[in-house]
């Protein structure tokens, strides 16, 4: 099980497979810049260990330090403090060309004066691999990324998706021990991006290389990753697998950044067995699993995902969290209906209702409705 210290200066998570040396390790890494005479701390103390063969994502908004962290792994930035290790070896002062990892750059950074073949062969030539082997390996990798027959094209003669695959091939052909990808799909349109997500995952499974993936797109990170480090303001807020990150966000920031979530706050009224009852307003009650940390009178921040909530005109029965409000917005989303419900105290709750049966909607704007969800779908934030 991973250990999480959310929001602390050093969120450490052990690699999933204990005993093995992690492929990549950041050990209390800090990066400071001087910009216009002021010291900017881009990375404020990050520690993480990425296991061999893992698809690991660094996820966060722009300016959170994810790209800087990746550039320190690649060797393009020197950490102000801390140690970078690759397979247990301290590489903090090793230049990028001496590190056995490769990077796929955000805008691909293909060599504009070289054709596809020469772009892909560049690394192998620098490593003085014999010509016959270069020929074989470049041919193989072009097959993997489906670019056979385009060897003589220049980057500018290719589409964004094709350039993306050249960039991938150019890195993978070297059989690096880890591949770093800096928002590699950012420039592609949605359809192509989704296709490439699946493609990347397939390639990663086939070649079995550790992937470190930097993105600000939470759905991309959830789709592809084995584990995700959610970063904010130079720190790791949470490091866990996608399900854990989505279902059990470690902080308000993570809850808000990953998917849509409703943030609520209430006071513990009483604790019955393993359930705490929170009072919100007149007639409303929210049930939260009590795990010993909750005591009567305590204020609790909690989050509920919109798809866990049921919307109904009548008051549902059972041991459910129960909230009443007025529908202020109804949006038809195709696969689902989205409702925004205003509560008595001014808070708003978003509800997704799957469009499973027919296209009728449960409530109209202005209707008074009951929202309900199971106690375990309330997740208390610490």
């Amino acid at each position: 099980m991973t250990e999480i210290q959310a929001g602390s200066g050093a969120a450490v998570a052990a690699a999933p497979v204990s005993g093995d040396v992690p492929a990549i390790e950041l050990d209390h890494v800090v990066k400071e810049y001087v910009s216009h005479g002021e010291v900017v701390r881009a990375v404020k103390g990050v520690s993480l260990a990425i296991a061999e063969g893992e698809f690991f994502s660094l996820l966060g908004p722009s300016g959170c330090g994810k790209t800087t962290s990746m550039r320190m792994i690649a060797g393009f930035e020197d950490p102000t403090q801390g140690v970078v290790r690759l397979h247990g070896e301290d590489v903090t002062n090793v230049p990028p060309n001496k590190r056995d990892i490769n990077m796929v750059f955000q805008s691909y950074a293909l060599f504009p004066h070289m054709n596809v073949w020469d772009n892909v062969a560049f690394g192998l030539k620098r490593k003085k691999v014999p010509d016959a082997e270069i020929k074989r390996r470049v041919g193989e990798i072009l097959e993997v990324v489906d670019l056979v027959g385009r060897e003589k094209r220049r980057p500018k003669e290719m589409s964004g998706g094709q350039q993306q695959r050249v960039a991938l091939a150019r890195a993978l052909v070297n059989r690096p021990r880890a591949l770093l990808l800096d928002e590699p799909l950012g420039a592609l349109d949605l359809k192509l991006r989704q296709a490439m997500q699946i493609e990347l995952k397939r390639i990663q499974r086939e070649v079995g290389i550790t992937f470190v993936y930097v993105t600000h797109d939470q759905s991309e990170a959830l789709t592809m990753s084995d584990r995700i480090a959610v970063m904010n303001d130079g720190l790791v807020e949470q490091l866990a697998d996608p399900r854990e990150i989505y279902e059990r966000p470690a902080s308000k920031f993570v809850a808000g950044f990953i998917g849509t979530s409703n943030l609520l706050s209430g006071t513990v009224q009483q604790i019955t067995g393993d359930t705490a009852v929170l009072a919100l307003g007149a007639g409303d009650r929210i049930l939260v699993p009590a795990d010993g940390a909750l005591a009567a009178g305590a204020t609790v921040d909690l989050t509920v995902r919109p798809e866990k909530i049921k919307i109904a005109k009548g008051r549902p029965e059972g041991d459910l969290s129960l909230v009443r409000g007025t529908v202020s917005e109804v949006v038809y989303l195709g696969t689902s209906n989205s409702y925004v419900v205003a509560l008595g105290d001014g808070a708003e709750i978003t509800v997704f209702e799957q469009n499973a049966h027919d296209s009728t909607i449960t409530a109209e704007r202005g209707d008074t409705v009951w929202l309900s969800w199971q106690p375990w779908h309330s997740y208390a934030l610490r």
Binding site: A74, F76, P95, P96, N97, K98, N102, M103, F105, Q106, S107, A109, L110, F111, P112, H113, M114, N115, D118, F122, G123, R126, K127, R170, A171, N174
Partner: protein, 287 residues
Amino acid sequence: MSRLRASLTPYLLLFPGTLWLAIFFVIPTVVMLSLSLQSGDVVNGYAFTFNWHSYVDGIGTYHDQIIRSLVYGVISTVIQIVIGFPVAYWIAFKGGTRKSVYLFLLLLPFLVSFVLRTISWQFFLSDNGMLLGPLKSLGLVPEDFHILATSAAVIGGLAYNFLPFMILPMYVALERIDPRVLEAAQDLYASKVQTFLRVVLPLSLPGVFAGVLMTFVPATSDYVNASVLGGTSNTMIGNVIQNQFLVNQDYPTASALSFTLMALLLVGIFAYAKALGTEDVLEVAAR
């Protein structure tokens, strides 16, 4: 109506420039071409006679100056590449936010007239001037040492005077290189030297190519540097043409020499473009 206007717009925009070139370039060129084939003298007047002798005699008499001009042009251009490339590289990659300041500083001396700058070089290089005076009084160079009136002075002047026209195109080419492409090269195991040779240099070649075109032609046909810095034994073909036009008033010979120079430069440029056409250069560099 509006469609007609739209289709006419490009021609209207081109009109002033075309008119300008027609009056001040095409007509004089045709007049000179005709002059170069005329015979006669300034007292009795000239007549068009298809007189090829101006070419044959001109080249026969002045081939030394023609060859010297081409040699000076080539050497000064090479010197400019060697001096200018590091400057352009430094401004493009290390100039940071002050790039335009450095470019302005580079161009600052060139706000002074070309002739004046050359004359100030004459002062600077003169036998007991600012440079040689102190060196001679310190005994570091012999008393009879001189720089003026040597080919070195002329080539130096040419290299100096056209340097910005070499640096600016190289700067533009270097500045356009995405720094991430250089990082990609490093990421793919290239050392700093290999990154320079395999990526920076080939990507800058179009700029070098343009710089050579912009400096080699005016340097080869220049006469100011040779007449101010070169003395009598380093005259270039430009000096001969100027002399034939303004002193001897031998217009046919002057015109014939002008066309000979023009033809040589055109052939040289096409040969250069053929040998170093940018696309081909890049193909070679990629290997």
